[in-house]
């Protein structure tokens, strides 16, 4: 009997970003329609709302397919995901016109300047966050769905 482990791995992987997605939508509606902020937020949320959940799903499918050979824990596997998301998100944001890369700062929405040192700290924090989320939430859902 085919129990579709990869489908279950995909569904388990997209759970966390899918739960957060309504918060992005709510923030967008409040900022754009409620507070009438003219910043092009819709260009900025394409990546977190459109691509990130799918990437999480495929990343968990990759873990499902490879962990019998690599013996990598799901937490550690998830820690590697920001190494893919950072350049991909930066590429999407620069092409969407919401991010410009300066000599010492990254400039978001032509107004918010963030020094690269702070972005490096953000990246380190993201690694810690991803490790914890993948270990405790994605790992838990994987166990519930019977793929771990």
């Amino acid at each position: 009997m085919n129990t579709h482990p990869y489908l279950r791995a995909f569904l388990s992987g997209i759970l966390v970003p899918t739960l957060i997605m309504p918060l992005f939508l709510t923030a967008f509606i409040v900022l754009r329609l409620g507070l009438q902020i003219s910043v092009p937020i819709e260009r900025g949320i394409v990546f977190p709302m459109g691509l990130v959940p799918i990437i999480w799903g495929f990343w968990n499918m990759l873990w499902q397919g490879s962990h019998s050979g690599t013996h990598l824990s799901v937490g550690l596997h998830g820690t590697f995901l920001p190494f893919l998301l950072l350049p991909l998100g930066t590429l999407v944001a620069t092409h969407a016109g919401v991010l410009r890369l300066g000599a010492t700062h990254a400039i978001w929405f032509s107004s918010i300047e963030i020094p690269y040192g702070l972005i490096a700290l953000c990246f380190a924090a993201a690694l810690a966050g991803y490790y914890l989320v993948w270990k405790y939430i994605v790992g838990f859902v994987n166990r519930v769905l019977g793929i771990a």
Binding site: I20, V52, I114, L121, A126, A128, L132
Partner: protein, 77 residues
Amino acid sequence: MNTHDQDRIQQLLREALPPTQPAEPARDLWPAILQRLHAPPVAALRTVPLFDWVLAVGLFAFVAIAPATIPVLLYYL
């Protein structure tokens, strides 16, 4: 095949195959399962390694110190 042959085959099979272990566990496992299901969440928190606690505290401290980084973190979530 007559009855004698069948008895002979049965005897040979019994001699060739090792005796099987009892399939059921020696004790009732259901009380242990119930105990795990009804275990308080504090017990589960105690199993979280110290390293993970340090990471979680560091992450919350970073976000509290530099709240301007929250949108950047959310963007890459």
